[in-house]
């Protein structure tokens, strides 16, 4: 911030601090609050990460190609959670459901039947990396 120049001809008591150099001081002078998107979207900064979406299997869950998702590792996975999963060398986003002893990763794209649920077996290298909390998309 560059300190503003104060015109030298004014007597000291007439100086105004702020954008207004003379005249009525702004009643909002002391209000410095701003809306902070990070505060809204990131509950736990230590455990929050961002991923970019590539693909269309989750369009019905409002996740489109190129969107950025906010992922929180601090939340415990639960039945039906929306999660970033690491499976066999790559990341994917799916709804995770527990069916008996099986884990199912469900897509969300009604219009394309070629997206089938993935059934996780012990042969897969699998982990729930974090839970999706928000989707950031350009309109």
């Amino acid at each position: 911030m560059i300190p503003y120049e104060i015109e030298e001809t004014l007597p000291a008591e007439n100086w105004m601090v702020g954008d207004v150099k003379a005249g009525f001081p702004s009643p909002a002078e002391d209000v410095h609050e701003k809306l902070d998107l990070i505060k809204l979207l990131v509950r736990n900064p230590a455990s929050t990460f961002f991923f970019r979406i590539d693909g269309v299997s989750m369009v019905d869950a409002a996740m489109d190609e190129g969107d950025i998702i906010i992922v929180d590792r601090s939340m415990e996975p639960f039945n039906g959670c929306m999660a970033v999963c690491y499976i066999d060398g790559g990341y994917t986003v799916k709804r995770v459901e527990i069916h008996g002893k099986e884990l199912h990763l469900l897509p969300a794209n009604e219009s394309n039947v070629s997206y089938k649920p993935i059934i996780v077996t012990p042969d897969n290298q699998f982990m729930v990396w974090g839970l999706v909390t928000y989707v950031i998309k350009k309109v």
Partner: protein, 420 residues
């Protein structure tokens, strides 16, 4: 009680957070300019990769065992370290950040019933929040807490948390603990202790305190007492300001051109000056150095450094960068191929402790200080190196980092992709 939180194989663990496929595989991380192995996974350690070994000496092992190699990604490691610290803050009222991968916690006055359980809980939450495995040692002194944290790494059964406090347990551990691995016992003291038949931490504890004092001075006595459970080492929870700041690098390709070398040195100076102002200090002196590759035979060699005293202690960007470039021009020799250069800013003083008149008298000084302030504000907002002094060129440092992973957490263009 004190706790030490020590991140396991930290740089490797940072890489693995985003590459879970590398769990169970041998991984190493190289130093600045891909010179030496500075972090090793347990699997790499088991293959005989030693700490600090030059990369070219282990190339054959890397190929034979398919060791995965990373160039250092300091942006990632710095950010992950910050996340671990943020997580640890939930567990203690004050932290002492000892290094990028070690933090002490002062647990005095905390209503904790079961310290062992608390240690395991800290470790579990760190792993869950950040993906980094962290060993937590809790003991009555910082030196013992360090030993306790090492036990976690040896014994996975401890689940990342070890509470070591009963004298009989401590004795059992110290009897097996090599004396040279004790915090505060340096490489120079170890042979002296060995000569006297002192090999374990327990042998050391059994020494008479006066003998320790004669051999190692007051620091030795402190370590001796700490091992006996008497806290002697201060808990430094305030940020310790650095006494000197060094920015240097070896280059991926040797530099012969003067302008090229100038821009490299200008970048080092700019970075050092930014760090200097970041800690609120000013400097009285600066050393600028440049050297050729001493591993090359039959080529002319040079190692030259110039000490630059400042007329008035300064932290200003243009003053420091300008002086560094002038010094470099003086020591530059057109017949040489330079491999490494650097800038060391020394004799630091807190800016507000300097007599006022030095700064406040001159208009020029005020103007310089405003320029520096603007440079810092712009670079903070738009990214490091967004605004530069002309001589810095494009602001890049020619160092080798062939195997660097993306800046997953600090650059929007590098965030990981989920294919869905």
């Amino acid at each position: 009680m004190y706790a030490l939180a020590d991140c396991n194989n930290f740089f490797v663990s940072c890489e693995r957070v985003f590459r879970p496929d590398l769990n169970g595989k041998p991984v190493i991380v190289l130093s600045n300019n891909d010179g030496c192995a500075v972090a090793r996974s347990n699997e790499a350690k088991a293959l005989g990769i030693k700490m600090g070994v030059p990369f070219f000496k282990i190339r054959h092992l890397v190929e034979k065992h398919e060791i995965i190699v990373f160039s250092g990604n300091m942006a990632l490691y710095g950010d992950m370290s910050r996340r671990v610290r943020l997580t640890l803050q939930e567990f203690a009222p004050s932290l002492e950040v000892y290094s990028i991968d070690e933090v002490f916690l002062d647990l005095h006055g905390m209503p904790i019933e079961d310290f062992g359980k608390y240690a395991r809980e800290i470790s579990r939450i760190c792993l869950r929040n950040t993906g980094i495995p962290v060993s937590i040692g809790i003991s009555p002194t910082k030196t013992l807490a360090k030993i306790a944290s090492k036990l976690c790494k040896q014994y996975p059964k401890l689940q990342g948390g070890c509470y070591m406090h009963r004298p009989e347990d401590i004795e059992k551990v110290l009897r097996k603990f090599p004396v040279e691995d004790v915090w505060g016992i340096g490489r120079r003291t170890t042979p002296k202790l060995y000569q006297r038949g002192i090999r374990t931490a327990f042998d050391f504890v059994k020494m008479d305190e006066e003998r320790v004092r004669a051999l190692m001075g007051i620091t030795g006595v402190r370590t001796h007492r700490e091992l006996r459970g008497i806290p002697c080492i201060k808990f430094e929870d305030s940020v310790v300001t650095k006494q000197s700041i060094c920015v240097s690098s070896s280059f991926s390709k040797e530099i012969t051109d003067c302008r090229d070398l100038c821009s490299q040195v200008a970048n080092f100076a700019a970075k050092a000056a930014e760090k200097l102002r970041g800690q609120g200090s000013v400097a009285f002196e600066m050393v600028v150095f440049a050297m050729t590759n001493r591993f090359h035979e039959n080529v002319p060699q040079a190692y030259k450094s110039i000490l630059v005293p400042f007329v008035e202690p300064t932290g200003e960007q243009r003053t420091i960068v300008g002086a560094a470039v002038a010094a470099l021009r003086e020591l530059y020799d057109a017949r040489m191929s330079y491999k490494k250069a650097g800038v060391v800013i020394t004799r630091l003083e807190q800016r507000n402790q300097i007599t006022g008149s030095l700064f406040e008298d001159s208009e020029a000084a005020k103007r310089e200080s405003r320029v520096s302030y603007l440079i810092d504000s712009i670079n903070q907002q738009y990214g490091h190196g967004s605004i530069r002094i002309g001589v810095q060129g494009d602001g890049s440092i020619h160092k080798l980092s062939e195997h660097r992973s993306p800046h997953y957490t600090t650059l929007w263009s590098d965030i990981p992709t989920a294919s869905i």
